[in-house]
C-alpha cells in the first residue's frame, strides 16, 4: 500500500501506474452498473474471466467490471478496448465467441452489434452509436474505463490531480473563486450557484464547519447520482475534499439512501482507499489540511433529500424539515455552518479545478454552465443515462439520443424534475434546456429525471401518480402539505374514476396555489407542480374526464369500455379463453361479444387479439 504524501509522489505514482498499463493490451470492459447487473452482467464477467483463464490468456487480456456506461436499455454492455468494438445484450453463450473472434482475431460478431433503428445500419464502435454521439461526457467520462473499486485505475487517469492542485497551488479563497467563475450551479434541482454557497459557508462564523454530500436521490425514475457513485466514486470523494479545503471543513458526511447497496459499497471502498493513500485523514498531501468522510445511510424517506430534514436525520432525529432561516450555511448540522451539495455537483468540482473555470464555463449556456446528466426513462427506445451540455434541446435528447418513442407512437410530453417538476409538451421540445428556460415552461431542471410519455399516456392519471407519491412521502408536519396534497389526490382520483365535477380544476388550482405558497419546505412548495403543468398544457384532457366522462388516452378504467368489432372478429376464441373475468362469449368462427357487466377492463383481450377486433372507447 502506497501512502501519497506530496504532489510529487502523486505524480510519480501516476506515471508508475500508467507505465504498468499497456494501452494496446486487449481489455474487455463489462458494464456492471445496476441496470446491466439486472440483465446478468455479473455472470457475463465471470464467464469472461473463466474463458481467459481456460485459454491461458491471463496477463495478455484483462477483464474489467466498470460502472454504468449509460446505455441501460441494451445491457449487458461489453466494450472491447482498445478497438472500441461495442456489443450489446451480451449473454453467457456469447462469451467464448467474443474472446476467440473479436479479442484474438479482431473480427466483429455482427449479431451482437448495435443496429441504428433510424438507418438500419450496424454500428461497430461505441463512439459511433447515436446514443453516445451527441453526448458530452465530463462527469461520466471514465465510467466505461475504470474499475470503480480500484483507486489505481482512477489515479492512472489523473485522479486526485485536482486535489493536489487545489491543496498545493491554490488558497481556499481561490478555489471558491474558481468554482464561482466556472458558473457551476447546484445539480440537485434548484440551481443555486455553488461558489456563492461555498463562500457563504466559508465566511460564516465558527471554527467547526461541515460539508455534506446529498446522495438521497429519490425522484421516481432518476438514477444519475447512483451511477456516478457506482461508476466513479473517487471523483465524488475528491470533489468533497476540495470543497472541504475551500470552505474550511474537517468533517464531511455522505447521506446516501440505503436502497443503493452497490453505490454504498463502492463509496465505502473508495473512502477506505482514499484514507489508505492519504487523500483523507491528516496532513493531506503534506498541506497540513485534515479531512475525513463518514457515510450515513438513509432509511427510505424521500423527504430526507430536503436539506434540513437530511441534517435532522444525520443527527439521529426524525427526518422532518425545519423552517429556514437559519440557512445551513449559518446554522446547519449540530448548529454549525454546513454546506450541502448533491453528488453530481461534487463530481463536477475536480473537473473545474483541473481544467479551470474558463474552460468549464465555455460548456453550456449563458446562465447554466457545464453538462447535465439525465436519466431518460418511460416510453423511450434508448432508456439510459445521458450527459449533455446545458442548452441541448429536449428533441435532441428524446429523438437523436433516446431514439424516439417505441412502437412508432407519438411523443406527448416529457416530465422533468420528478414529483417536484412539470411536464414539457412536444411543442416546446426545441427550447434549449437550462435552469431558466425550464422554469418558464413550468417544469424544473430538478436532479435530472426525465420521464417520456407517449400518446397513450393519460396526463390526468400521470399527475395523479405523482400526487400519490408526494402525499405518501410528505413528512406530514405542515397542514398544507399533509392535508393539501391528500385533498388534491382525492380530487384527481375522483376525476380519473369518472366522479369529477365542474369546478374540480379550479379547486385543484386553488389548492395548488396555497400549498406552494404556504408549505414549510421544498417538498410541499413544489408538490403541486405536476398537476399545474398538466393543467396548463393538457386542460382539455381534464375537461374530457370531467365533462364527457371520457379518457382520451383510454387509460382510466372507469371511463373506458371494450367491445368487439364484429366485422374484424374471426371468432378464433383467443380472447375468450384468456379473459380472466369470463366476460367474453361467442361460438367458434362467429363474432364474439363482451359482457360489460362482467368486464374488469384489464385489457388482455385488446393485447391478445391478432385481428385488431377489440375496440377500446
Amino acid at each position: 500500500m502506497t501512502m501519497v504524501r506530496t504532489p510529487e509522489e502523486l505524480e510519480s505514482l501516476k506515471e508508475e501506474l500508467l507505465a504498468a498499463r499497456e494501452p494496446d493490451q486487449p481489455r474487455v470492459s463489462v458494464c456492471c452498473g445496476t441496470g446491466c447487473r439486472v440483465h446478468g452482467s455479473m455472470e457475463v464477467i465471470e464467464a469472461f474471466r473463466q474463458e481467459i483463464d481456460k485459454r491461458n490468456l491471463n496477463g495478455d487480456v484483462s477483464v474489467v467490471g466498470t460502472g454504468c456506461h449509460g446505455f441501460c436499455e441494451k445491457g449487458p454492455v461489453v466494450v472491447l478496448k482498445p478497438s472500441g468494438v461495442f456489443y450489446q445484450r451480451v449473454g453467457l453463450g456469447d462469451v467464448s465467441e467474443i474472446v476467440s473472434e473479436t479479442v484474438l482475431n479482431g473480427a466483429v460478431i455482427d449479431r451482437l452489434t448495435y443496429v441504428d433503428p433510424a438507418s438500419g445500419a450496424r454500428v461497430i464502435h461505441e463512439e459511433d452509436v447515436p446514443f453516445y454521439r451527441k453526448q458530452q461526457r465530463l462527469v461520466l467520462d471514465l465510467n466505461g474505463d475504470i474499475d470503480p473499486t480500484s483507486i489505481q485505475d482512477y489515479l492512472a487517469f489523473g485522479g486526485y490531480g485536482a486535489l493536489s492542485k487545489a491543496l498545493r497551488q491554490m488558497r481556499p479563497e481561490e478555489v471558491v473563486e474558481e468554482v464561482t467563475r466556472s458558473g457551476l450551479r447546484g445539480r440537485g434541482g434548484a440551481g443555486f450557484p455553488t461558489g456563492v454557497k461555498w463562500r457563504l459557508c466559508r465566511e460564516a462564523d465558527g471554527d467547526t464547519k461541515y460539508i455534506i454530500c446529498n446522495a438521497d436521490e429519490g425522484d421516481p425514475g432518476a438514477y444519475m447520482d447512483r451511477s456516478i457513485m457506482e461508476g466513479n466514486p473517487h471523483r465524488v470523494v475528491e470533489g468533497m475534499i476540495i470543497g472541504a479545503w475551500a470552505i474550511g471543513a474537517h468533517e464531511g458526511y455522505v447521506y446516501i439512501r440505503n436502497e443503493y447497496p452497490l453505490a454504498v459499497e463502492n463509496l465505502r471502498i473508495a473512502i477506505g482507499q482514499a484514507r489508505d493513500y492519504g487523500f483523507l485523514g491528516q496532513d493531506i498531501l503534506g498541506s497540513g489540511f485534515d479531512f475525513s468522510i463518514q457515510i450515513r445511510p438513509g432509511s427510505g424517506a424521500f423527504v430526507c433529500g430536503e436539506e434540513t430534514a437530511l441534517m435532522a436525520s444525520i443527527e439521529d432525529r426524525v427526518g422532518e424539515p425545519r423552517p429556514r432561516p437559519p440557512y445551513p450555511a449559518q446554522s446547519g448540522l449540530w448548529g454549525k455552518p454546513t454546506n450541502i451539495n448533491n453528488v453530481e455537483t461534487w463530481a463536477n468540482v475536480p473537473i473545474i479545478v483541473d481544467r479551470g473555470a474558463e474552460w468549464y464555463s465555455q460548456v453550456g449556456t449563458d446562465q447554466s454552465k457545464g453538462t447535465k446528466i439525465f436519466s431518460v426513462v418511460g416510453n423511450i427506445n434508448n432508456t439510459g443515462l445521458v450527459e449533455v451540455p446545458m442548452g441541448t434541446t429536449l428533441s435532441e435528447i428524446v429523438y437523436d439520443i433516446g431514439g424516439g418513442v417505441p412502437g412508432g407512437k407519438e411523443c406527448k410530453a416529457v416530465q422533468l424534475g420528478g414529483p417536484s417538476g412539470g411536464c414539457v409538451p412536444r411543442e416546446h421540445f426545441d427550447v434549449p434546456i437550462d435552469f431558466e428556460s425550464l422554469q418558464e415552461l413550468g417544469a424544473i431542471m430538478g436532479s435530472g429525471g426525465m420521464v417520456v410519455c407517449d400518446e397513450d399516456t393519460c396526463m390526468v392519471e400521470f399527475a395523479r401518480y405523482f400526487m400519490d407519491f408526494v402525499q405518501q412521502e410528505s413528512c406530514g408536519k405542515c397542514v398544507p402539505c399533509r392535508l393539501g396534497t391528500r385533498a388534491m389526490l382525492e380530487v384527481l382520483t375522483a376525476i380519473t374514476q369518472g366522479r369529477g365535477r365542474e369546478g374540480d380544476v379550479a379547486y385543484l388550482e386553488e389548492l395548488a396555489k396555497q400549498i406552494r405558497e404556504s408549505s414549510l419546505c421544498g417538498l410541499g412548495q413544489t408538490a403541486p407542480n405536476p398537476v399545474l403543468s398538466t393543467i396548463r398544457y393538457f386542460r382539455d384532457e381534464y375537461e374530457a374526464h370531467i365533462r364527457d366522462k371520457h379518457c382520451p388516452a383510454h387509460v382510466c378504467r372507469a371511463l373506458i369500455h371494450y367491445s368487439v368489432d364484429a366485422e374484424k372478429c374471426t371468432g378464433c376464441g383467443r380472447c375468450l379463453r384468456n379473459c380472466p373475468a369470463e366476460a367474453i362469449s361467442g361460438a367458434k368462427k362467429e363474432p364474439h361479444t363482451i359482457d360489460q357487466e362482467k368486464c374488469i377492463k384489464c385489457g388482455s383481450c385488446y393485447e391478445l387479439c391478432k385481428f385488431d377486433a377489440i375496440v377500446v372507447e
Partner: protein, 227 residues
C-alpha cells in the same frame, strides 16, 4: 431594538424575536394553533402565515418561526394571507370536522362547509403534546410517527411507555381535546398512550390526585409541602 412595519404601522421589537412576537407585543392579532409561548415554535399549522415583502415579490412566511428583521414590511391581514388561512382552515375542518376549536376557527375565517372530506380525527398533529412532553416535562414518552396522511402521535412501539409519568400535560395542552384523561377512583389512564396509573390519595381529603411516577419526577419539594 429593531423597527419593522406591520400593516403600515411602525413597530418596535426586541432583536431575535419572531414576527409573531413582535406583532403580539404591539397588539396585532395573528391566529395560531401549533404555537405555545412556553414551547419552541414549530411552524406546522401555517395559520400564522403573514405576507412579507421581499426583493422577489411578496411571499408568505410562518410568523411564529420567521425572525423579525430590521426594516421588514409585513402584512398580517392581506388577501394573500386571508386566502391562505381559509384554505388551511378548510383542510383542517375537512380532517377534524368535530373539533370545536377548528370549527370556531373556520367560522371566524368565513369557511362554512369543507369541499372535501379527509376523515374524522380530532388530532390535528400540531405536535403540542409531543413538544410539551419533551421540552417541559422532559419525559419524551410520545413521538410523531409515520409520514404524510398516516402520521400520528404514538407511544413507542404502540405500547404504554415507562417514560410516561402520568403528568397529563399533554391532555391539558391539546387544543382539540383529542387526548382524554380518565379518572376512576384511583385508576388514572390516558388511553391514547395506553398509559395507566394508580393515583395517590390526598392525605387530607382522600381524593386521588396524582400518579406516583409524577410525584417521583417532580420530587422532594412537593413531598415537603405535605399535600
Amino acid at each position: 431594538m429593531i423597527t419593522l412595519t406591520i400593516n403600515g404601522r411602525e413597530v418596535k421589537a426586541t432583536e431575535g424575536s419572531t414576527i409573531l412576537e413582535a406583532a403580539r407585543e404591539s397588539g396585532i392579532e395573528i391566529p395560531t394553533l401549533c404555537y405555545h409561548e412556553a414551547l419552541e415554535p414549530y411552524g406546522s399549522c401555517r395559520l400564522c402565515v403573514v405576507e412579507l415583502a421581499t426583493p422577489r415579490g411578496p411571499r408568505l412566511v410562518a410568523s411564529c418561526v420567521y425572525p423579525a428583521e430590521e426594516g421588514a414590511l409585513v402584512k398580517t391581514d392581506s388577501e394573500m394571507v386571508q386566502s391562505s388561512r381559509r384554505v388551511t382552515a378548510e383542510l383542517l375542518l375537512a380532517a377534524a370536522p368535530n373539533a370545536r376549536v377548528i370549527r370556531e376557527l373556520a367560522n371566524k375565517l368565513g369557511v362554512k362547509e369543507p369541499r372535501i372530506s379527509l376523515g374524522d380525527s380530532n388530532c390535528i398533529l400540531c405536535g403540542l403534546c409531543v413538544r410539551a412532553c419533551r421540552e417541559i416535562v422532559g419525559a419524551n414518552a410520545i413521538s410523531l410517527v409515520n409520514r404524510g396522511f398516516t402520521k400520528e402521535v404514538r407511544p413507542p412501539f404502540e405500547i404504554g411507555s415507562n417514560a410516561c409519568i402520568g403528568c397529563t400535560t399533554c391532555v391539558f395542552i391539546c387544543p382539540t381535546g383529542a387526548i382524554k384523561l380518565e379518572d376512576v377512583l384511583a385508576n388514572r389512564s390516558v388511553h391514547r398512550w395506553a398509559s395507566a396509573f394508580e393515583a395517590r390519595a390526598c392525605k387530607i381529603c382522600g381524593d386521588h390526585y396524582l400518579a406516583p411516577e409524577f410525584v417521583a419526577e417532580v420530587g422532594q419539594p412537593l413531598e415537603e409541602t405535605g399535600v
